[in-house]
Symmetry: C2
Subunit: 455 residues, 2 copies
């Protein structure tokens, strides 16, 4: 028995040692010496710019990435039709605090999906709340007023996404809750861990309320939130005024962009690698999620340049409309179900182009353990952080028996300095960090392609 155990141990050791370790090294060398992802992102950010669903930028990004992918040696590159919501911001928003005779302008932006204010703006007294419980207790006192959700992201969490999850609900559910009590509008504190002057946009919604009950919803910068809170303590009767002219238009036709290479041994088994092509409209979406898009393309470029022929079918999928509808991810799944496809693996990069630290695993224990078997292979590349967590919004709808979903996990500390704000721009990207993220993705794609998922 002992001898057999030793042989098994040695076998499993060799299976993971030479070739895999060398391949992971080659993948990283390719990424760090010969990448194209930074140049692609430069184009997406600086030549195209913002790519909100249904915008001219989104359309240009579809055509650009399709054309680039067509040069890369995929077996096929195609567009997948998807109807997307179209929300437009309109004129730049303005806001001020009216404290007696004192008028203080503050940085503001409409939340995605919000309606406009009346033409002359919405001016009302403000009620500050920390959470929905406090709102519910206030009840009718909220009537006719602007509800100010001032719930800072919790600085205590080491992972910034934990704080985003907690504080985020006041952005995306706040207006729907506030209108129940007759609020005239809502403003929320921007979801950022730093104090700055950038308002951070993002999706909001009105839950199940009928359209005629909807109220304008906006975000103010964290500095403005601190100021407003201070001023309210001094003068609870002060007024806040904001003007926004955003509009919800009819849905329009858009596309997921897909590049596919057929598997040499198991063409029926599909592995997806992706990010989302749409972005918010205030910056140029370099981190969210230009980075994920170009890293996904780079994964294929790396494997191709190393003459690696995948056993399974690999699809690079650039999803449309993650930010304000998630329609691209849903559509991709719909088509996968309609075609009875077998997806074994889906990997998404949508947490910024920062230094990669590991992977967030959404799967069965068996598949989690499968990834953990690669631990020692990944350690030389400082990919230590392998934990059970969310895979990604675009791959969330994807249904397939036993699928292993993974999110690339970069360092999270700087992400919410830029997320959905005007400074999410190309100059916030570090070339090597972007490349290392792509290498971390390619490494896991390779390992899963070779060693498979748990049965």
């Amino acid at each position: 028995m002992k001898k057999i155990a030793l042989v098994l141990l040695l076998n499993s050791f060799f299976a993971f040692s030479q070739t895999d370790a060398e391949m992971l090294r080659s993948i990283h060398t390719q990424a760090l010496t010969n990448s194209n992802c930074y140049a692609w992102l430069d184009h997406l950010s600086n030549k195209i710019g913002q790519r909100l669903s249904g915008s001219a930028g989104a359309e240009k990004a579809i055509q650009y990435t399709k054309a680039e992918m067509e040069k890369m040696g995929f077996d096929k590159v195609y567009l997948q039709e998807v109807m997307v919501p179209k929300w437009v911001r309109g004129k730049k928003e303005t806001a001020y605090i009216q404290d007696g005779k004192n008028k203080i302008n503050v940085p503001i932006c409409a939340l995605g999906g919000s309606i406009a204010t009346p033409k002359g703006g919405l001016t009302a007294e403000v009620i500050e709340v920390y959470d929905f419980e406090q709102l519910a207790k206030l009840g009718d006192k909220v009537k006719g007023k602007i509800v100010f959700f001032n719930h800072p992201m919790d600085p205590k969490n080491i992972d910034a996404f934990t704080s985003y999850g907690e504080a985020g609900k006041f952005r995306w559910m706040g207006p729907g809750e506030a209108l129940k009590y007759g609020a005239a509008g809502t403003i929320c504190r921007s979801l950022s861990l730093s104090l700055n002057d950038f308002p951070h946009t993002g999706s909001t919604g009105y839950r199940d309320a009928p359209k005629d009950k909807w109220i304008p919803a906006a975000a103010i910068s964290t500095n403005a939130a601190e100021l407003l809170s201070k001023k309210l303590k001094e003068n609870p009767q002060l007024k806040f005024s904001f003007t926004q002219s955003c509009e919800i238009l009819d849905d329009v036709l858009s596309y997921n962009v897909i590049g596919e290479i057929r598997g040499s041994e198991h063409p029926e088994k599909i592995m997806v690698v992706g990010g989302h092509l749409d972005s918010w409209d205030l910056g140029d979406g370099a981190h969210d999620d230009g980075a994920g898009v170009v890293q996904s393309m780079e994964v294929f470029r790396i494997l191709k340049s190393l003459n690696y022929r995948p056993k399974n079918t690999i699809r690079v999928v650039l999803f449309m409309n993650e930010e304000n509808g998630g329609r691209g991810g849903k559509k991709y799944n719909e088509q996968a179900q309609a075609n009875n496809e077998n997806h074994i693996f889906a990997l998404e990069s949508d947490c910024g182009g920062f230094s990669p630290r590991g992977y967030s695993i959404e799967s069965s224990d068996a598949n989690y353990n499968k990834v953990m078997e690669f631990k020692d292979l990944l350690a030389p590349f400082l990919l230590y952080q392998i934990f059970k967590g969310h895979g990604g919004s675009d791959i969330e709808p994807l249904e397939s028996k036993n699928i292993l979903k993974v999110g690339l996990r970069p360092d999270t500390q700087r992400y919410f300095d830029y997320h959905h704000a005007g400074n999410d721009k190309f100059d916030a990207i570090n070339k090597r960090e972007l490349e290392l993220g792509a290498a971390a993705m390619a490494s896991l794609v390779y390992l899963i392609d070779v060693h498979g998922i748990a049965q």
Copy 2:
């Protein structure tokens, strides 16, 4: 036997479980919610600025940090005299490539310790070399020319410091090698992994050459190095001209700044936590090493605010002159030897204020294993990277039997974008990353204070 092993296992489990895990959590919460390190760094960077040894800025930084530490509750705060070299840059340097009639200005800076050019500048033909072997082969052909060390930092290494170690020798030893063959001067490619227009300074030297043989030495930006190399291929006879007026003055008196709290159980055992107060003179030294200074001060602030009373004596040491002489570290050791002190632990932060990833351990195997025992306690804070490596330049001279030396290891990818260059400024610092680095330091100080080092 088995039962005993289980009891031992449980004991060791409990020894490290509740109290330690809770303490590490408290340390991180203190750092992330109540820190003062960012404010201190703001003052050092924006109110004081560059702190090159012997400069007015260095003197102000000594007085400022001493005054701040005197407010913090140390048992004593004192200055330790140290004579430091004084090198001054003089007027802003200029340089150009003269390619026929075409004159192209390029960004340049004198290397620290270099002599000036003749008043009208040094103009000569250029010989590009990759390394010292190539230089030696050229031999006398170098005579009267400017040697251009164009040795890029290797992008393939995951740890940027590995590449710095390899390419760095051409900066610090290049002039000493080139003068052997009669070179008129040297320029080196800036030590940065990115292509940009910042020249990066840093120490250089002339090895054992007599003073009358010394030649002017400078660094040009990475973009300029690429351009010059390209131009040289087209026209090997082109000339390069640079003018610098730097000077080496007499040594001056300066200080290490030290705050000490006496150990409650083992006052004779000393633990050092430090960074270096001096900086280069092109930026404001926010990353190198303002970050290490304020993180070291923050370590004490955190422990104090948690009412933690150390068993061993803890000294926060702000070393002078790491950059161009290392005199502060040497002096600290001299005094330690003279006083027959017993140092058990020294921790330095001098790799930038970026997101911490772990620790570089310079010690016996037994002490390395001691730190590795804390692995599971450190993992929730993403401090995974514990490896044998350099502790730090300032703690390097410190001699003590069995001492455990540790360097805080932040993410290295961005460091050489700023290192020794004009953009090493406060705005390149992320507050949370700085705080997390301080928490990583305080965590290890606490663990070693409680559990000791290997015997």
